[in-house]
Structures are given as structure tokens and as C-alpha cells.
Amino acid sequence: MLEHVLNGLYYGSILFMIASGMTIIFGVLGILNLAHGELYALGAFCAFTVVGFFAGQVASPTGPVTAVLFGLVVLAGSLAAAAVLLPVGGALEATFIRPIYDRNEVYQLLLTYGLLLVLTDVMKVVWGPSPIDVGVYSGINAIPTTELVGVSYPSYNVLVILIGVAVFAWLVWFFDRTKTGRIVRATAIDREMSTAIGVSTDRMFTLVFAIGAFFAGFGGAMVSIGPSPASLGMGLDWLVLSFVVIVIGGLGSLKGAFVGALLVGVSSRVVTPYYPELELAVPFLLMVLVLLIKPEGIYGTWGEIQ
């Protein structure tokens, strides 16, 4: 049972990294970004190139020390890959999304769907149509983690869980403690008032979209250094699951996204062995349940990040 819970936490952590970006963007900009799954995929493809290059510079791990070093290099590579998403996200927001803030929100859906399709083909041009794998998974698993306490469990999963928690902690710190973060929150709560005290909402929005894209990309990088390859269309299922997570947690709530992601992850992983036929449906059943009982989600907030 412990292992099933761990599997759920691992799955939930990846889900959180993707959903966090989506919930931030929705919370501040009020945009339901359908292209978010493709930003995640873009991160996975960038990781193939960047992490592949980084990992090529160091030898494959032979002992615990080299394994830790290898792991750090891969992590640095993943961050570098996700960093590609910062300018990409910023440019997408400034070019395509900014002109339509004042329009009926349904146009945002159509526009971000258009971006989804274009991004898919951009990745097809750059990385080709077939799935590609960076091939560092077994190297990461050579890092000793659970063996130290006498359990056998993939180190990669443990790392993902830790990184998920770290991402959450960083986001909370950023929005609670930093000046920029507070300005973003102020903008989210009252756009007009922030403009009145001299905040450029345009810049805030660009920044927030770039951060959201960064974490989607980071989630993608985390998946592609794992057992799965990067492939076209990999973002679609995660996009739909991200909806589920942010709805369960409460739209725009960071804490909600974290709890929601872990809830979806753990519940689907614990239920599946007993009711294999529910594997696909569990997240959606959970979502229906939460919406019917507590429509605003677990930490229901609207348009502000908490």
C-alpha cells in the first residue's frame, strides 16, 4: 500500500508542476490556456536536446558519487530546458493573447486552441514526428535514495516528489514574500487599483504567463528525463487532467492545485489495483464529486493566488 501511495505522490507531483502554471495563469490573467499542454510538451522536447547535451558532457554514473553528480547535471539541464519556455511564453502572451483580453472570453479558447495546433507543428519541424527519449532514466536511478532506508523504490520517483514539493515551496515564497510576487497578487485581486498605483499590468501579465510556461516546461522536462519519451500529442491528456486538478483544488489557488494534484494522483493509484476499469475515470469522478459538493473547489478562490 505504501508503494501505491508513493506512486500516487510521484504522479501527483508531475501533475502539480503542469497544473501550477495553468492555475497561476488562470488566477491572474483569467485565461484558460488550452495551449498549456503543448508548452509542457515543448519542455519535454527541449529537455531532449538540452539535457542530452549536458549529460553527454559527463560520464555515465558508476558509483553513488558520480550518480549524484549525474543527477545534478540532469537537473541543471532540465532547468535550462524549462528556461527556454520563459521567452517563448512571454512572446506568446505579448503577441497573441494581449490583444484579446477585452474580448469575450470564448475567443481566448479559440486562440489558445490555434496556438496548440501551431506549437504541435513547430515541435514536428524541430524534432521530427517520432517519439524521442533522452535516455538518462537509469542513470538517475543509480542515485542511492531509498536504499539508504532499506526499501527498493526508483530514485527518479523520489526525486520527482521532492522537486514537486520544492516547486510548491518556491511558488508560495515567490507570491508571499517577494515584491514582484506581491505586485502580481495585487494585480490579480484588483487590476484597476494596481494600474492606479503605477503597476504595468501588461508587464505583470507577460511575466506571469512566462512563469506559468516555465513550470509547464519544467514538468515536461521532468517527464522526458523519466521513463517516457517526448512525443507529439503528449500534452493532450495532461491538459485535460490539469483542468481536473485546478477545478478540484479551486481555480486560481496554488495550494489547491498542490492538494488537488496529490489527491488525483494518490486516489487514482490506490483505486486502480482494486478496480482496474476505473483507472481512466477516477480523476473525472473525483472532479464531478467535488464540484457537486463544493463547487468552488477545496480552496475555492477566484482570481487571486493563495
Partner: protein, 442 residues
Amino acid sequence: MTTGPTAGAESGGIDRRTLLKTVGGSALAIALAGCTELLEGEQESLENADVPDEPIESGLQTFTEGAPAVLGVQARYGAETAVRRINENGGIAGRNMNLDVVEEGGAHLTNYQQFVDEGKDVTFGPISSSGHAEMVPEIEAQEVINVSTDGTVTTLYEEDFPDVTYSFRFQNHDVMEALAAVMQAVEVLGADSIDTYAGINPGYAFGQDEMDLFSKGIEQVAGAEELHSGFPDLGTDDMSTHITEINSEQPDIVFSSCWGGDATLLLEQGHANGMFDSIELLVGPVLYGSANDMSEDLVDGPIYSGSRNFYWGEPSTDRWSPAADLVDEVQSEYGVVPTAHFMSGYGAVTAWATAAEKAVQLLGRWPEQDELATVLENHGFFTPAGYHTMGADHQGYSNAHFGELTWSDEYDAAALADVNVFSAESVSPPPGEVSADWIGNW
């Protein structure tokens, strides 16, 4: 069943001369069998035939991008290789062949209709079995021959459409590969030592069918008991739940019809979680389809994979030059080793092309669709994989290949060792019998 010589054992020793006699000496048939030397003076009936000048137009629908492209791109390479060989050897009765390729994803019926609207002489594909089932009646209505590369759901020609004219399928069907997996498991472990089994299969019709058939087979042969059966979503990113479950249940055998990215994911997570220490054997009919995406550490362990009706190293390339030539050509042209799905594309084109030429020889002119369809029934032909027949039920019958997953330093790719070749009749029911009933008396 008109299976012809069971190529596995016999054609292993076949030399080019014997082959030429067997296939009847047509230049094209020989070229597609993988032999480049031609016989002289056998082409008269073709030269005098009344055949139009314009090239043959053909269309292939397959998965060209995303996760399923692991299989689809191989099928495309296969079809293109066959077409290239046809054109390099003077075409079919003098007619060159053009091939258009389109993404099949979700639009099987309209793709086929569009091909017909464009005036295609023949169409090939798809990979998807639901897509194939959707297409069959439309093919019958439009009366333009389609030779399916895969779309391997067994019941399609057995129960759903037992009496078709224009719709054919080249690749072995699901029963053949699930039962080959049963036989392989029994051969490795022995029926007496197989008490328990489990399955991880992709969560859609193909995975569910394969698991069902394997269960029937292994329970029939070894009386084994099922401990866990999981169906992760097709194209999932995480199977750890099912692997954890298998680790705690410790079955003797795990059966998995996972393919593409799911196959590598299973091996990656299986290794990382120590699954191969908890089980005796993993058998997977299509694991080898991902051969080009496997690294050396993945193939380690008691893992056996099927390779449908073709494995490039069987008969071994030092004895069987057509296979060796094919591997060389594919390596230099595409930089990959060909898998069974390569043969799906290659064989589908070959089946139609050799039948078309046979029809021209018989008729002295280019055949109509229905004439060509008649010739395709019970049509036998060679590819580098050996001998194949297109049954009267429009299902292709070939040997099923199964072997231990290993690593080839020579090709720097996953390979199969100790390949077992199961003849078609040993893993599929005789004509007119329904597989599900037949397995019960297996």
C-alpha cells in the same frame, strides 16, 4: 489452410535457385522476395499484355506522427521500400507505382474515400483495428481493393465480415500472436511450472482482446491462475501502479501487448522497480516493435517478444541473403532495423503487386478490381520474411516469430535470440472455425 511450405524450417536452407523455381520466375516476384538477379526469357506473357502506360496510383494511411508513429513510420518505410523495388525492377507489368502517404489518425473512412475520389488503383493501411473495422464495409461498397497493413482484430474477418471481396489483411491476426506467446512461455518454463500469470496491456480493444486470448490459452495449456490484470491508458506516462502490484503478487509470467512508447515505458519502469526479479518471464507479442527505441540495459532480463510475421534475423542473415539485403537496405536508407511493422507495409504492397502481375499474366491485360481480388484470394508470395498466403478468408497467413530479447552490437539495436517460428496452423484455427471456440479445444 493453404499455408504452403512452412518457411521457418525449410526456407531457411533455400537458395536463390530453388526460390526462383518456386515463385515461378516472375522478375517482380523475385525482386520483392528480395532477390536481385533476374531470370531471362520469362517475361513474354507480360510484354505482350495490353497494359495502360500511366503509373499505378496507390495510397497508404498510417500513423505518421506522435506516439503511434513508432509503428506507423516502420509501415511507411516498408511500403516505400516495396514500391522502390517495384519501380527499380521495371514496375508491375511495366507500370511504375506511385505511393501517397497520409496520417490515419481518426479519419480512416474519409481517408479511404478521399483516396478513391483521387482515383487510386489500390489503397493500403491502416494500423488501427477500429479504423479497419470501420473501413471494411465501405471498401466493399466502393470496390477499390484495400490491403490492410495491420488492423489485426481477429473477429473482423472471422465473424463480422466473413464474406468480403475487396478487403484484405496482410499481417497475422491477434489470436496468432497471443497463442504464439502462450507457446513460447510453455516452451521456456514448461507447462508444469507455470502456476500464475498477470497482465499489463494497453487500455483499449486490442490490449483487452490480447489479454483475453492469452488468458484462455495459458489456462487451457497450463491451468494457470490470473493474479492481476491492468489496463493503463494507451500512451500513458506511468505504469508504476501495475508494476508495484506485480511485484507484490509475484506471478510466474507477465503478459503484455504494450507497444510503441508503452513497451519501452514498461521495460524502463519494470527494471527500475525490480520487476524482473519478481517474475520468471515477460512475454510480449509486440514489444519488439519498439526495437529502435530500446537501449542495451532495457533488454536485460527474462524478456521474450513476438515479432509477428517477420523477424529480420530469421532465417539467419548468413544463410538467407534476401533478409540480409533487406536489413542493409533499410539501415542505409532509414538508419533503423526493420521490425514486423516494416513487413506490414512491405508485405501488403507485395501481396497486391505480385497478384496484379499474376492477373496480367493470366488475362493478358490489366485486371479489373474484382478480377484482381479473385487472384488475391489464396495467392501465395514471397517476401524476405519467407512465404505468405492470402487465405480465402482474406486474412494473410504467415509464420509467427517469437524470441528472447537481446542486444546486437553489430546493428547497435535490440535483437531477438533463439527465435521460434510457429507455423500459421499451429497458432490459428482451421478455416471456418471461430478462434474463441477453437482455443477451448486447443
